[in-house]
Symmetry: C2
Subunit: 341 residues, 2 copies
């Protein structure tokens, strides 16, 4: 059974996922991920995964071929779907049952069809799947936040090379999301404007960190990027939640994502990367609760963050929580602007 | 010129160290660190480093052979030693000049003599060097915090394999240190006791997470460890600052560090690791300043944190700020207790 634990001094929660069952000897030969002879995510191997939770498929039976996108439970989940959220303490130490959802979104039956090459219509179907799963999981009031992320290549933490994303639903609002909500709320209270909208407007006024603007989206090289060539995709229209996107917007987003991945391929030789979808927390606590933020976080602005994994985090970063970025965001933007389409 | 930048929403500072001068092409073949034909840190190659700032040496001239430990400026510093701390803003964005110190502590003239093998007397000299450099840099009132860290092997971010540590003096108190000071202060105000001392006492009451206790130190597997087999070394005697250690304590610490590194070698096959020395901030801001904490942080408790680099951080960790640890701290402690000396 997984468990959430809070550091008594740092006030930071950690997931202890010990039922993943790894022993010291599993780490002895770190770095080499064994490649399975048969890929469980490929079309035709549906029997090798847990049963499907959702699929974008035609009139074909579940757990067989004929699908475009398929969602299954993670075989080694960080959190357990069964159980209730229970908090307990021992002296200075706090723990919580490790309840949550951990799903895998298999993006295509074709092993080689990565998001950088897939058709826009297909990627739009993947994004729609993200929406469907998010909407479904939000009905479960044990969960307070949903994060969807994509790890590309083993160096970025992917354990299987078949194109896939993951979704984790959490019983708490994580630190980074909370840290973002607070200034956004303060800014809104003071100005009745979204801090992200203001930031986007300020950035659009000069070209230094703008990689690309379309009718609906902007791709920014963030002013205080912690990682070289990190990018953020924001919708230009204010929206706190990515499920508000309609079909046309999802197609436009698919094009922007593909274009960003193509730029990385050209400029950085197809780097490993992490892609994270940041959207407003799922269920907001009720008034009177210490986590209550007033109303639903309409002052949040959803985004997609993409971090190529080009540098290693070391003692300084773990010890201080801040990052050394050896490439200025302006140089990153300039390099990535070159292949402008 | 380096620059500190603050994320307008996350309130997190980042160092943009662009004079490290890396271009996109430098990242194209990520992962392979070129090995220099001649190691600039080896004895006899003193001319290959910047001039020495400090050395533990007998009656021999500076910048020549005959030293035990040698401190030089980092050739590619994250921060610049010259200049004043100046803050400026553009609309929503905040920046600060990248002023600070970035030094390399070359721990030995012998390439193969890593800290896991070095004599206790030698490692005590290295620790004494950390104290000397810290005391010297504290006289510079531009700096608010000093962190000393050690990256072992390329997978942990070391760019040279010769045994060395690094020191960075910062013009701000970093987020993680601040996050630690606040609960420590609140606990002290309420109970007039150190939160770390209380935590150590609680942990010592049961053997689950205690890897080792000596007369002066305890090695704990932290209750909410973010990384598998992470350990923290605390002095048993309350002390906010590692410079308070006398010669006898430094020798005892050298033995504890060597023992921990030997346990890692035995149980985890000499893993890459990051080691961080966490001590109270250097200069505390004056009353009235927003960063003022009342008095000097006597309620802090210094420690050494060691993180073997066995797992990869991926989209979930970067997107939420919390970690999935696949090994329970109790199992980690049990595995590492086995080789008890």
């Amino acid at each position: 059974m997984s468990e959430l634990r809070k550091d008594p001094v740092l006030d930071r929660w950690v997931i202890i996922a010990s039922e993943r069952g790894r022993r010291p000897s599993d780490f002895a030969a770190a770095g080499s991920e064994p490649k399975p002879a048969t890929c469980p995510f490929c079309g035709g191997n549906e029997h090798m995964t847990p049963p499907e939770i959702y699929a974008a498929r035609g009139n074909t039976p579940a757990n067989g071929p004929g699908w475009e996108v398929r969602v299954v439970a993670n075989k080694f989940p960080a959190l357990n779907i069964e159980g209730t959220v229970e908090r307990s303490g021992i002296g200075l130490l706090d723990r919580m049952t490790g309840v949550g959802a951990h799903e895998v979104i298999i993006e295509t039956p074709t092993h080689e069809e990565d998001m950088a090459e897939a058709s826009l219509e297909h990627t739009a179907t993947v994004i729609k799947t993200f929406q469907q799963r998010t909407l479904d999981l939000r009905r479960d009031d044990r969960f307070r936040h949903i994060i969807i992320f994509r790890n590309h290549r083993a160096e970025a933490g992917a354990s299987l090379s078949h194109p896939h994303s993951q979704l984790i639903a959490l019983p708490i609002v994580p630190q980074i999301v909370k840290a973002t909500l607070q200034p956004a709320r303060l800014h809104y209270m003071r100005k009745e404007r979204c801090i992200f909208c203001d930031l986007i407007e300020q950035e659009l006024a000069l070209p230094d960190r703008v990689v690309r603007v379309t009718d609906q989206f902007v791709v920014l090289s963030p002013f205080a990027a912690g990682f070289p060539f990190e990018l953020t995709i924001y919708p230009l229209r204010h929206s706190h939640d990515f499920v508000q996107m309609d079909d046309k917007e999802m197609l436009a987003l698919a094009e922007v994502i593909k274009d960003v991945l193509q730029r990385y391929k050209t400029v950085l030789n197809d780097p490993p990367y992490n892609m994270m979808l940041q959207t407003a927390p799922t269920t907001l606590p009720r008034p009177g609760h210490p986590e209550y933020w007033g109303t639903i976080a309409y002052d949040f602005h959803w985004s997609i963050q993409i971090i190529p994994r080009l540098t290693k985090q070391a003692g300084f970063e773990w010890g201080t929580g801040f990052f050394i970025n050896p490439v200025s965001p302006e140089l990153a933007a300039e390099s990535l602007q070159v292949t402008s389409s």
